[in-house]
């Protein structure tokens, strides 16, 4: 019995050590917004470079910022750029700054589960703010029905769903609401984790989509690909030019057009409620948070290698998952900035 146990232990130890050799393991964590894209990218990159394993855990943008600041992961990811306070905290803790690298463009879409309604509903900014403030509670409220003539909206209560975790998707949504609603701006504000007036909480984009899918009359915001992959209907949003726009490659790219030309050096920019007739108003960049200094040379090179690939070949994969490519100007600027990673 004892000998068996010892043998088993020896085998396991060998296995563990054996697996340890060879693969360089890099850990990242953060946003669920780009998770489908990142998981595909890291999988493809691993197939091309079998000695590099980039393990990404989608725990929410808040988690990404927190853990990369703590140093427990090698890089972070967030759709809400780090604010000045968080940047300073990182600098103070590590002694060098952290860099933002945009990866894709995506969109928050309003998705719902109403029996009898399978098409696209139109949402005005006022309706969206009112629903999430808890002032509009029924689907057939005039604020919603007014923009959707001809659609048979039931008199059921709206089940609002939001994020329970710290989320860049939330940041994008609340950033937009703060721009279009003074009341939202003063009462709730924008951030990765806000004090929601109403609604149920789901964990991650996955959790919100899951909750909406299973709950009749539910309504919430998710990244576009989650609605598509789960065959959930999503609505159009009225942009600043007065047009009702559906989120897709063209409308998201249009939203980034202005920012592409005037991108700040640290890449932190908000493109919600962007001007332009065809722009989708709840679009956003999403960023990888990369430390500017790595003590481990192999890790640094591996990450730089991935970023280079991401900016070239990687960009060719994004449209398949309904994310929009980065504007050419941004790609050029980022490629130059790769040199900043020491």
């Amino acid at each position: 019995m004892k000998r068996l146990a010892l043998l088993f232990l020896a085998v396991l130890a060998l296995v563990a050590v054996g697996v340890a050799q060879g693969a360089l393991s890099i850990n990242g964590a953060g946003a669920t917004f780009p998770y489908p894209m990142y998981s595909k990218w890291f999988d493809d990159y691993h197939k091309k470079n079998s000695n590099v394993e980039i393990n990404y855990q989608s725990i929410g943008s808040g988690g990404g910022i927190k853990q990369v600041t703590e140093g427990t992961v090698d890089f972070g990811a967030s759709d809400g750029p780090m604010n000045d306070e968080q940047l300073k905290a990182y600098q103070d803790k590590h002694g060098f700054p952290i860099l933002h690298f945009p990866t894709v463009l995506g969109a928050d879409v309003p998705t719902y589960n109403i029996s009898g309604v399978s098409g696209e509903l139109n949402f005005t900014p006022e309706a969206l703010a009112a629903i999430f403030l808890g002032k509009v509670t029924k689907w057939n409220d005039p604020l919603i029905a007014g923009a959707n003539k001809g659609v048979n909206l039931p008199g059921n209560d709206i089940v609002v769903v939001h994020r329970s975790d710290g989320s860049g998707t939330t940041y994008i949504w609340t950033d937009y609401l703060s721009k279009v609603s003074e009341e939202w701006k003063s009462k709730v504000g924008k951030g990765t984790s806000v004090n929601w007036p109403v609604g149920l909480g789901g964990k991650g984009n996955e959790g919100v989509a899951g909750l909406i899918k299973q709950t009749p009359n539910a309504f919430g915001y998710v990244e576009l690909i989650y609605a598509i992959q789960n065959q959930m209907p999503y609505g159009k949003v009225k942009n600043s030019s007065g047009e009702f726009i559906k989120a897709d490659l063209a409308s998201v790219t249009a939203a980034a057009a202005g920012a592409a030309k005037s991108m700040p050096d640290d890449f932190r920019v908000s493109i919600t409620d962007a001007p332009g007739k065809t722009a989708y108003p709840v679009s956003s960049f999403t960023w990888l948070l990369i430390p500017s200094k790595f003590s481990d040379g192999t890790k640094r090179d591996a990450i730089k290698g991935f970023l280079k690939w991401m900016l070239s070949d990687g960009q060719n994969e994004v449209e398949k998952l309904s994310y929009a490519k980065l504007p050419k100007e941004v790609v050029t600027k980022e490629t130059k900035d790769l040199g900043k990673i020491q």
């Binding site: 964590a29 725990i59 929410g60 943008s61 808040g62 988690g63 990404g64 910022i65 927190k66 853990q67 600041t69 968080q86 905290a89 209560d157 089940v159 329970s164 975790d165 710290g166 504000g189 951030g191 990765t192 984790s193 806000v194 004090n195 929601w196 609604g199 149920l200 909480g201 789901g202 964990k203 909750l211 299973q214 709950t215 009749p216």
Partner: protein, 315 residues
């Protein structure tokens, strides 16, 4: 044992053995002390900033750095309360059956299965909760309650499926085994002469159980309830998958809510800012103290009853 020289004892290895095993035993104490110390130390920010107000504020706002524990304490209490309301009658009933009525083999076999139920991990209950309990609650049970008892504030509001009631029901299933096994032991240990005296005086089986045996075992059964309560308070996974994850205080059991364990599980890895993180840790400290008190009381009550049962009390 006669006195042997220290050297000879040492040569035989006894002192070494004693020392080595003492170190292991002592490490248990050290680890526990370290744990309590860490919890206390890592929660000093909110303790100093909010003080006692932490327990009575219901705002949980990471943007404005305002944290109050009330919604989580409320949610933890309500779900545990619902769980006990369901589990206690069922559990004691089952325990009575197993202890008083069932023949020994049936009793032991059923107890075996109930012990297995206690071994089912929390995440499996959560899995079943998400795919089975929530839809059933939303489509059948909650509307039925609303139609029949909707005049009570407990059963008002929209039926989401998730919420206090659902979490309470799942918790009830999780804690029933504890109530059953401890109560059964306690009931079995009630001396035979108690029952026989009642029966001899003309009581029916039920009357003897309800009026004589149960009161005798009352403290032990209370102990089992406290044990179950402690378990319910600390449950994390099953609760966070069915409670709705919203820090709300509402009289309605249909409302989504939050518990201490659930909010820690959801927000710990992303709490940016020391005050935020330490507020979560203070919540952990609160939970720890609650379960500590309950477990202590439970143990006391169970010990007292079994001492009474084993003959130290008079017939």
């Amino acid at each position: 044992m006669g006195s042997r020289s220290f050297v000879s004892k040492l040569r035989d290895g006894d002192e070494i053995a004693r020392l080595v095993t003492f170190i292991f035993a002592g490490s248990v104490v050290l680890i526990t002390l370290l744990l309590v110390f860490e919890l206390w130390r890592e929660s000093y920010l909110p303790r100093h900033k909010f003080g006692f107000g932490f327990f009575v504020t219901s705002v949980w706002d990471p943007i404005f750095d305002k944290f109050g524990a009330l919604p989580f304490i409320y949610g933890t209490m309500v779900t545990a309360g619902v769980a006990l309301l369901i589990a206690v009658p069922l559990g004691i009933g089952a325990a009575i059956f197993l202890a008083e009525l069932a023949p020994a083999r049936v009793s032991d076999t059923l107890q075996f299965f109930i012990d297995l139920l206690a071994a089912v991990p929390s995440v499996i209950y959560g899995l079943l909760g998400v795919f089975i309990v929530i839809p059933v609650m939303r489509q059948y049970i909650q509307p039925a309650l609303k139609n029949s008892l909707g005049f009570l504030p407990f059963f008002q509001g929209p039926a989401y499926g998730v919420g206090f009631l659902t979490a309470g029901m799942v918790l009830a299933i999780m804690v029933i085994p504890y109530i059953i096994s401890v109560s059964r032991e306690v009931l079995i240990s009630v001396p035979r002469d108690q029952r026989e005296a009642a029966l001899a005086l003309g009581a029916t089986r039920w009357e003897s159980t309800w009026k004589v045996v149960l009161p005798f075992a009352r403290t032990g059964i209370m102990g089992s309830i406290f044990l179950a309560l402690a378990r319910a308070l600390g449950e994390t996974m099953a609760v966070t998958m069915v409670i709705g994850n919203t820090p709300t205080i509402s009289a309605s059991l249909f409302s989504p809510g939050y518990s201490i364990a659930a909010v820690i599980a959801n927000e710990f890895t992303e709490a940016t800012g020391d005050l935020y993180l330490q507020s979560l840790i203070e919540l952990g400290l609160v939970l720890f103290l609650l379960t500590f008190l309950l477990n202590g009381m439970a143990r006391l009550l169970i010990v007292v009853t079994s001492q009474r049962g084993s003959g130290m009390g008079q017939a």
